[in-house]
């Protein structure tokens, strides 16, 4: 086999693999929402955080929400700036894809950041016009992690102070009303 032939074979294999990789178009959650109709039925790969709940339904599908906004990497609880609302889409996947995932994102947890490949369903007739991503594969990019926030001591102390002051004032005024004239 000549060197040229070998190069052609290697190039062909590489191209084949690159073709396979690009079959699912890499996109974002924002693009799914903005170009929902245009992307209908296409296979896409989206990255984001799973948030809310994992709903394991009796029909064998698990439903959750995939968010692709600034808060995936910089949530407000961890000091991220408030830059607007969340950007999320519904995702449904077979049970086996959803089992064993870290808890979904919420106040107590940063949910797992995942790369989901699946078919974008726009106004799916089978689900009376719902739009969602039907996942066929899922890769965990970053596992979920628990989060915590410290108590707001100053607010708590001022609040207690106001309540105590109010109580004193109330008792004083009662004394004024009921005391000897």
């Amino acid at each position: 086999m000549t060197r040229t032939t070998r190069l052609v074979i290697i190039a062909t294999i590489c191209l084949s693999f690159s073709g396979m990789a690009s079959a699912a178009e890499a996109t974002t959650v924002s693009e799914l929402i903005a170009d929902s109709e245009a992307l209908a039925g296409s296979e896409v790969t989206v990255e984001g955080e799973l948030v809310g709940d994992y709903g394991f339904r009796q029909d064998g599908w698990m439903w959750t929400q995939l968010n692709g906004d600034d808060y995936v990497h910089a949530p407000i609880v961890n000091g991220g700036e408030p830059t607007g609302g969340n950007t999320g889409v519904g995702v449904r996947m077979p049970f086996e894809l959803g089992e064993g995932l870290d808890p979904p994102g919420g106040y107590r947890n940063r949910g797992p950041i995942v790369r989901v490949t699946g078919v974008w369903k726009h106004h799916d007739p089978a689900r009376q016009g719902e739009s969602y991503l039907e996942a066929t594969s899922l890769t965990v990019v970053e596992p979920g992690r628990p989060r915590s926030q410290n108590p707001q001591w100053p607010a708590m102390l001022v609040g207690l102070g106001l309540l105590a002051g109010s109580l004193v004032l109330w008792r004083t005024s009662r004394g004024d009303q009921t005391g000897p004239k």
């Binding site: 407000i76 408030p82 609302g85 009376q128 607010a155 106001l162 309540l163």
Partner: protein, 498 residues
């Protein structure tokens, strides 16, 4: 001559404002308790501060008590207007301290939107919000929907109670005393709370497969928002989050209960039940609902937005139901909603503008006013077409046969026109900021009629003036103008009176 309010007037107003503050402080204990039970200590502090401020205001107000705190008409109206200003301001404290709002004005915006049962929101990262704060957002809607004043009147009602009751945009007296009306309203709310929360929890747990405590959380928050026709939701994707027609159907029960006037609830519970169908208000809202639904479905069918009839029906029906009941939940994104044009847009905007029934938790012009306006116009046309000596029947049925007097028509027309003016005010300001007319109109109607559906104009990056205008629209729309004008008049008299 304009009479300057005396010290005694201010004392009476301060006294009642104080009493109402104490009631709201008590309501604030619920999210505080929630924070304790879920060990959410960060929001706990902010709830404590909020309760402290409400309590201090309450005790200070109570100290102002004159010897005989007699509440007259103008006092009552001013108390109502001030209550609806003070409560959202102080109620926004936990939002400000949560870090989920870019500015304090954003936090107040959501607080006003919550209390007025609108549902427009500028909150950031709702999906990571503490559950106790999320509960407080929804509880604000419930308090606003039932009426803070109604809540207060249940606990203390004096001779001036009726003024407070009417000032909150309620005009129907289906029971002899204000206290009995207040208690009936709370009974209706409590019964629906138990039934709908139980049903939604079961659906969330058994059908949607949520963990049971999460199912209960969703059920409680969605009921509070649904019954108050408020439209907040615990997740950023609104009711579309659940991807379930069954969940939507059960949640719709709370919307129906919310949009019905409490007088109608009373007829259904204690009779006469024929009023439920015979009333002009009921027939009007059923007609306008059918008409706007038809418009929207035809519009959606023309644009081929949905490829099948079931999708078209479910999505179109839910959106129009949400709009007409002034709830504001959506199963589609605001991006998609903003793309609805033609008849679909017309149907939605009209449904929002018309609104629900009077003396309910809903907003908008209200069905009875629409019905009476149509009746007055028809009578005028008949009068013009028939011979001069012909007598046109001038009655309508609303819990009994009533005469449509000139005064009633004038009052109805005035309020209706004020709503139209309010819709146009926000539209004009929106257009001045370069927002396309259709979107500016939609958002303005949504704010004024306390709906909450958005085509994306309401956003943390929106212009400050527009944000303030929307807040004023929500406030005026919820109180139906009377209390607002009374406050303006009282303030003017305080400055310029003699």
């Amino acid at each position: 001559m304009l009479v300057k309010p005396t010290k005694s007037d201010f004392k009476v107003i301060g006294y009642y404002l104080g009493r109402i503050s104490l009631i709201v402080a008590a309501a604030g204990c619920l999210p505080l308790l929630w924070a304790v039970l879920t060990a959410e200590w960060h929001p706990f502090g902010s709830f404590l501060l909020m309760i402290g401020v409400f309590t201090a205001l309450g005790v200070l107000g109570s100290r102002l008590a004159p010897r005989h705190p007699k509440l007259d008409w103008s006092h009552g109206m001013v108390v109502v207007a001030l209550t609806w200003l003070v409560v959202p301001l102080i109620g926004a404290i936990p939002f400000v301290l949560s870090g989920h709002f870019g500015t304090p004005l954003d936090a107040v915006f959501d607080s006003v939107s919550g209390l007025t049962t609108t549902g427009l929101a500028v909150i950031s990262d709702l999906d990571h919000l503490a559950t106790s704060l999320n509960f407080w957002r929804h509880l604000l809607q419930f308090l606003g929907g039932l009426g803070i004043i109604v809540a207060a009147l249940t606990v203390f009602a004096g001779p001036g109670g009726i003024t407070l009751y009417l000032g909150e945009g309620r005009g129907e007296r289906f029971l002899p005393s204000v206290t009995s009306i207040s208690r009936f309203i709370w009974t209706v709310a409590a019964v629906h709370l138990v039934v709908v929360v139980a049903a939604l929890t079961l659906v969330g747990w058994l059908v949607l497969g949520f963990e049971v405590h999460r199912a209960a959380f969703h059920a409680i928050t969605m009921f509070l928002a649904g019954f108050s026709t408020g439209g907040f939701a615990p997740q950023s994707t609104s009711i579309g989050y659940y991807h379930s027609a069954i969940f939507e159907a059960v949640a719709a029960i709370s919307m129906v209960a919310g949009v019905m006037s409490f007088g109608l609830h009373h007829s259904l519970w204690r009779g006469p039940r024929r009023d439920a169908i015979a009333n002009l208000e009921t027939r009007t809202i059923l007609s306008t609902f059918g008409f706007t639904l038809l418009l929207t479905l035809l519009g959606l069918a023309a644009t081929a937005a949905f490829t099948d009839i079931t999708g078209l029906t479910r999505q179109g029906l839910f959106q129009i139901f949400s709009a007409h009941t002034t709830t504001g939940w959506a199963t589609i994104s605001s991006t998609e909603l903003s793309g609805w044009g033609g008849l679909a847009f017309g149907g939605m905007a009209l449904a929002m503008a018309l609104g629900g029934m009077g003396n309910s938790t809903a907003g908008g012009v209200k069905a009875l006013r629409i019905g009476l306006t149509i009746k007055a116009v028809i009578n005028q046309v008949k009068q013009a077409l028939l011979p001069e000596r012909a007598v046109v029947g001038n009655t309508y049925y609303q819990s009994g046969k009533r005469h449509l007097t000139h005064d009633t028509v004038m009052a109805v027309m005035t309020i209706s026109l004020l709503y139209v003016a309010l819709y146009l005010l926000g539209t004009g300001v929106g257009v001045a900021y370069g927002i396309p007319l259709q979107q500016a109109l939609f958002e303005s109607v949504s704010a004024s009629a306390t709906i909450g559906l958005s085509v994306g104009v309401t956003d943390p990056s929106m212009p400050t003036l527009l944000q303030i205008v929307y807040m004023l629209q929500m406030w005026a729309g919820r109180l139906e103008f009377l209390a607002l004008f009374s406050l303006i008049g009282f303030s003017y008299a305080a400055v310029r009176g003699k």
